[in-house]
């Protein structure tokens, strides 16, 4: 184990845990699991570490005790005193952290309108890539980031209902199954975390976010809304969407529209008024990037 990994391991096991600054949130993380330390060490190497103080989320990734320790061991996600989900197999300890953190943010950050979307930016202008799981937003996001776009988020778009700006939440980009191969071919020099097999989503692997995206992180104003649709074997398709259609699709991928009620609806309407909406069907990444280039020109 490297020096850095040892340091991560030590902090994760300490009483105060490992403090990480992730987007606008301070996360204190505890875990005795070595694989979690190793993955964090690679994927969060550039994120600022924070000493004890106020933390937004106190998270523990811990083995499930009792008989389960020896027969098909499991891990569970703990947010302070509560265990919100069922345990997962021990081998999926690190993805459990990422999925759990998504849930924490989506459930406790209602000061934002939270959309299921990747967000990248160029200059101060943001490209939103909303979609349901499997649509191909993380794949396209990862490719754009490898070609110079700044990463703001790969999963949760945090939209300020007042200013409409997207607040960055820079984290590793999570890719599944075929996407992993696609990105390896597309960007052979990219840094990856370890692979995790047999998860509910298949094989999962994380791309380390570019250092620049982490260190020079600042909000961006949405200018384009593109709904990716990954369709193997089909020719690239760029379809311009009407305002109403775009608005309805955005609401469909909002996590907390019910909590925000009218405010969510108004925010979406204002977003749609200032941004164009498109659907981008793609089968290979180069074609997808060309499609994006056409849209943002």
């Amino acid at each position: 184990m490297t020096q850095a990994a040892l340091s991560f391991t030590a902090r994760l096991r300490s009483r105060t845990g490992l403090g990480l600054s992730i987007g606008p949130f301070t996360v204190r993380l505890h875990s005795p699991i070595p694989e979690v330390a190793r993955a964090l060490c690679i994927l969060y190497a550039d994120h600022p570490q924070v000493e004890a103080g106020f933390a937004d989320f106190h998270i523990a990734i811990e083995p499930v005790s009792g008989l389960r320790r020896w027969f098909r061991p499991q891990v569970r996600f703990r947010l302070d005193d509560t265990v919100p989900f069922r345990p997962l197999p021990y081998s999926q300890a690190y993805p459990l952290f990422e999925w759990g953190l998504n849930w924490c943010i989506a459930s406790h950050a209602h000061q934002y309108l939270i959309l299921h979307a990747a967000v990248v930016a160029r200059g101060g202008r943001a490209l939103l890539l909303p979609g349901h799981p499997g649509a191909g937003k993380s794949t396209l996001c990862a490719a754009l980031v490898q070609r110079g776009w700044r990463l703001l988020s790969d999963e949760l778009a945090l939209i300020d209902p007042g200013t409409l700006e997207v607040t960055p939440l820079v984290r590793p980009v999570s890719l599944k199954n075929d996407s992993i191969g696609l990105l390896r071919d597309f960007a052979p020099d990219a840094r990856w975390g370890p692979p995790f097999h047999d998860t509910a989503k298949g094989t999962v692997r994380h791309l380390r976010p570019p250092r620049d995206s982490v260190v020079n992180s600042h909000p961006a104003m949405p200018a384009w809304i593109v709904f990716p649709r990954f369709q193997p074997g089909v020719a690239r398709q760029v379809v311009h969407l009407g305002k109403g259609d775009t608005a309805m699709r955005l609401l469909a991928v909002a996590f907390n529209d019910v909590v925000l009620g009218r405010r969510a609806f108004r925010t979406v309407c204002r977003l749609v008024a200032q941004c164009g909406g498109w659907e981008l069907g793609y089968a290979d990444l180069r074609a997808a990037l060309a499609g994006v280039a056409r849209i943002v020109r």
């Binding site: 301070t26 004890a52 103080g53 106020f54 933390a55 937004d56 106190h58 302070d80 005193d81 509560t82 406790h108 950050a109 209602h110 000061q111 019910v258 909590v259 925000l260 009620g261």
Partner: protein
């Protein structure tokens, strides 16, 4: 002397938050979240002009919870609006209890409250046809295993909580306010006679009964996850109705009539002690609740608190079930938990 949990210190004296260190803010928010009091704290501090003392990073959590509380209030009002035509068709009065009642009646206790279930009271004779009709509206019994169903229906004489298949709201339908086989005999007819009709045609219990129902529920109960919050509900109700000079007299009289004076005393003592820091003579029951109602968080579960909760858990079952049902039930629960 054991230190008072930070959350209780702040509830007693809100000004305490001025200049508080980040580590203490961290602890306070965690305790308050576990107690379900974040939104309520936000609103109290807003009224007291204390929000400027809250650091921005902390304030976001409070505002987020306030939004969630507002969303729950909307949801409760919406669900009741959807249920009204159904109840009208069946000619059953729609009487809301507890949290739903606070919202319907516009009580102060609705402030910053997160709701789990919508509790309703219906006449016992209406239960069967109501359950059948609600099934057609998409309300399905949520505890599906055979033991739990039997527990509710045969032994507690209730229908299990109903969950809506699409909207995920939960409806808890009661026909008594305390198990009929239990040790407190509450004649339900008196509650119906005193019930108040609201402007929208739905019903709530009379003010004294709303307070006493909350008192009885908390001080015969054995689950304390929302105990401190329920205690603040009671204090808010007492403050709201206390404007009426005769209210306390009527409350006492009603408590005597129902035979629940010890429970009311317990509520008043605990509220004065925990929420206001006023010394009050405390008997055994009051002392036990004084411990059990502390926030349910790992930072403040010392041994006396856990013992008090354990004892009150057993007492709660003893109050609600005769021994011949209690022993098998506790055995079953112990086995299932293991």
């Amino acid at each position: 002397m054991s230190p008072l949990p930070l959350l209780l210190q702040v509830l007693r004296r809100p000004a305490r938050i001025a200049g508080m260190a980040p580590a203490h803010w961290d602890l306070l928010i965690r305790q308050a979240r576990a107690a379900g009091l974040l939104a309520r704290l936000y609103l109290d501090w807003k009224d007291a002009d204390l929000l400027t003392a809250v650091p921005a990073q902390v304030l976001r959590h409070l505002e987020s919870e306030r939004l969630r509380a507002e969303a729950y209030q909307r949801a409760v009002r919406w669900e009741i609006r959807l249920l009204q035509p159904v109840f009208e068709e069946l000619e059953i009065p729609l009487l809301s209890l507890k949290g739903a009642a606070y919202v319907q009646a516009g009580d102060a206790a609705a402030r910053g409250r997160i709701f789990n279930d919508i509790d309703l009271l219906v006449p016992e004779t209406a239960l069967a046809r109501l359950e059948r009709r609600l099934l057609l509206e998409g309300w399905k019994p949520s505890h599906l295993n055979a033991y739990d169903q039997r527990y509710y229906r045969r032994w507690m004489h209730e229908i299990p909580p109903l969950r809506h298949v699409r909207r995920q709201a939960v409806l808890d339908i009661h026909h008594t306010l305390f198990p009929r086989v239990g040790r407190y005999r509450l004649e339900i007819a008196t509650f119906w006679r005193r019930a108040v009709r609201l402007r929208d045609g739905t019903w709530v219990l009379a003010p004294e009964d709303r307070v006493l129902h909350s008192v009885i529920h908390l001080f015969t109960g054995g689950e304390f996850e929302h105990g401190l919050r329920d205690l603040t509900d009671i204090r808010l109700l007492l403050r709201q109705f206390g404007d009426d000079r005769d209210f306390m007299g009527r409350l006492q009289a009603r408590a005597v009539a129902l035979g629940v004076v010890p429970l009311l005393r317990c509520a008043l003592v605990c509220s004065a002690d925990m929420l206001e820091g006023t010394e009050a003579a405390a008997g055994l029951l009051e002392s036990a609740f004084r411990l059990a109602l502390e926030p349910c968080h790992t930072s403040c579960t010392r041994l006396p608190v856990r013992l008090a909760r354990g004892a009150l858990y057993v007492r709660s079952h003893w109050l609600r079930m005769p021994l011949r049902l209690l022993i098998p039930h506790l055995l079953h629960k112990a086995v299932v938990r293991a």
